[in-house]
């Protein structure tokens, strides 16, 4: 099924005509309303009217997460605050979150795109959506929620956590679609099994999973354990939230990017030169219809490639390969973005430890487990075990408060954190994804 036949299957030529028109409108908007963009364009000696074709997009400067942080909280908004109806945020690199805003029309667009995504993933009217993405300032929960309502499906806003209650709901309410992070889906499947609720007592047909990297192997495991077809969804709050791209259940070979609303590019993360279709590099997005928070050539740091081949599902929109990595050191832990520098900022504020640390990420029972090794210093050393344990708990609490993820803190001896060429190895990711 296709939610929006006209736009989703539009011939390339017509689609590109819409893109250039919308791009010009967006450029005018940011040039007039966002000092950051106006300055950047002026520095590059470009005005919106210089951008006459889609190829001209490459002349525009990039926008980075650092730029968003520098304009914290609302300086990237292109509309007056009294037209902003929703604010979301995601974690930033040093503790400041990246704040994004939506007008009523933005929320409506997002809902429509998410409805398209759910449809591509196999959902329709009459389906019951078990939405186990976290509700709150994170875009996952509400993004999927609004899309499901737009589609006319029934949503269970179950959010994350309270796994046993979720299993009871899955068994009794008989939801037909599940949406969550892939690791939580596996966790739910295992909890259900332990409670004696096998796939035969569940009614799921499809699952739509995203917000963290996952592998084909993990997909097969989810499919086997829940007896469903699992689809990959992509999105990020800076660009909109979930529903920027989705796999169609017909082909399940790459995620269709909703090109009538976003222009994707792939660039070499080192030279920033655009790369041709099929080559792997960093994904860059320009939004075409967003009012409150337009982005121009936003560097996602996600590594992927684009495939322009027509798809058997009938959609004309280009497909991106599943994200295979990052061009920075960001980790995604239980759907939460974590930068090593954030952990560092927590440690800097604690006098008793050195900012020598290592993050170790494991996956136990399909859930990400973050442990933080910190070198103990003489200042913080106490001859009482209790004092040291208290210090560990304090660090752990500060990390949880800043990042929203639980971390197990382990004090280690000085100079024991592995260093390579004098530089400490900050991250050890043992997850097989």
């Amino acid at each position: 099924m296709i939610y929006d036949i006209e736009y989703e299957t539009m011939p390339r030529e017509a689609l590109e005509a819409i893109q250039i028109r919308r791009l010009q409108t967006t450029l005018q908007r940011v040039y007039t309303s966002v000092p950051f963009y106006r300055n950047k364009f002026q520095e590059a000696n470009i005005t919106p009217s210089d951008i006459k074709t889609l190829a001209d997009l490459q002349r525009l400067p990039f926008t980075t997460k650092q730029d968003l942080r520098d304009n914290y909280p609302f300086n990237m908004f292109a509309v007056p605050m009294d037209t902003v109806v929703r604010i979301h945020a995601s974690s930033g690199t040093t503790g400041k979150p990246t704040v994004v805003g939506y007008t009523a029309r933005d929320v409506a667009t997002w809902s429509t795109l998410m409805a398209r995504a759910l449809t591509a993933g196999g959902a329709g009217r009459g389906d019951i959506v078990h939405n186990a993405y976290g509700y709150g300032i994170f875009t996952g929960g509400l993004g999927v929620h609004y899309g499901a309502e737009r589609l006319g499906a029934s949503v269970i806003p179950v959010s994350g956590g309270n796994t046993k209650r979720q299993v009871v709901i899955m068994r009794d309410f008989k939801p037909t679609i599940i949406t969550s992070t892939p690791s939580y889906a596996l966790h739910l499947a295992e909890a259900a099994e332990e409670m004696g609720v096998g796939p035969e007592s569940l009614s799921f047909k499809f699952g739509i999973f995203g917000a963290e990297p996952w592998s084909e192997q993990m997909r097969r495991e989810i499919e086997r354990k829940l007896d469903i077809k699992a689809m990959d969804i992509y999105g990020l709050s800076e660009v909109m939230g979930p529903g920027v791209a989705i796999e169609c259940h017909e082909a399940r070979n790459g995620l269709h990017i909703f090109e009538d609303h976003f222009i994707p590019e792939i660039v070499d993360p080192n030279t920033l030169e655009p790369l041709p279709y099929g080559e792997t590099g960093e994904l860059v997005f320009t939004s075409l219809t967003k009012e409150a928070f337009p982005v121009i050539r936003y560097r996602t740091r996600d590594i992927t490639c684009l495939n322009p081949e027509p798809c058997i599902c009938g959609r004309s929109h280009i497909r991106m390969h599943r994200v295979t990595g990052r061009s920075d050191d960001m980790l995604i832990i239980r759907g939460v973005n974590v930068f090593p520098s954030q952990i560092e900022s927590v440690l800097m504020e604690i006098e008793e430890v050195e900012p020598h640390y290592q993050l170790v990420v494991d996956r136990h029972d399909n859930l990400d487990v973050l442990s933080v090794k910190v070198e103990v210093s003489e200042r913080g050393f106490s001859d009482e075990v209790r004092g040291l344990q208290k210090l560990e708990r304090r660090i752990s609490k500060n990390i949880k408060e800043l990042l929203g993820v639980s971390a197990e803190v382990k004090l280690v001896e000085p100079k024991t954190i592995q260093r390579s060429e004098g530089k400490a190895v900050r991250v050890v990711d043992n997850r097989q994804i």
Partner: protein, 144 residues
């Protein structure tokens, strides 16, 4: 000096770490007079009383260990049933908490020697002495 200097060393729970400490001290010709190990699942704190605190501290620090220095109190405990109990009751009634304690390897005359770390070392010393119990000072102890 009535209190006794104790050094403490942070140790990860890894095999061989303790013997590295003893090797360093042996090489530095430092004699261990008393020791106790407190541990959790991932780390431990080794507490030591040695004949030359400063030498031991330097040697361990030069080998990359985190070393702390704490003052503790050595108390001569009557070597008979109830000897330790009397002291603990005394402290309890004066509301002085014992952070930790361990036994000294050697005895002193007809008394056993216990090492205490109190919440308030000085108060504890005054209380114990006022009750006719002997405190063994640093110089005496290192030489025992």
């Amino acid at each position: 000096m009535q209190q006794v200097e104790q050094i403490s060393v942070f140790l990860e729970n890894k095999s061989g770490r303790l013997s590295e400490v003893t090797a360093i001290l042996s090489e530095a010709k430092v004699n261990i007079r008393a020791l106790a190990l407190a541990d959790t699942s991932d780390f431990g704190v080794l507490r030591l009383i040695v004949d030359d605190t400063e030498k031991a501290r330097k040697a361990l620090k030069n080998n990359g260990f985190t070393v702390g220095k704490t003052n503790v109190v050595a108390v001569a405990v009557a070597d008979r049933p109830g000897g330790l109990h009397e002291i603990l009751m005394l402290l309890h009634s004066a509301k002085i908490n014992v952070e930790y304690m361990y036994a000294f390897v050697r005895s002193s005359g007809d008394s056993a020697v216990m090492i205490f770390r109190f919440e308030k070392n000085q108060e504890a010393i005054e209380l114990i002495q006022a009750n006719g119990i002997r405190i063994i000072d640093g110089d005496q102890l290192y030489a025992l």
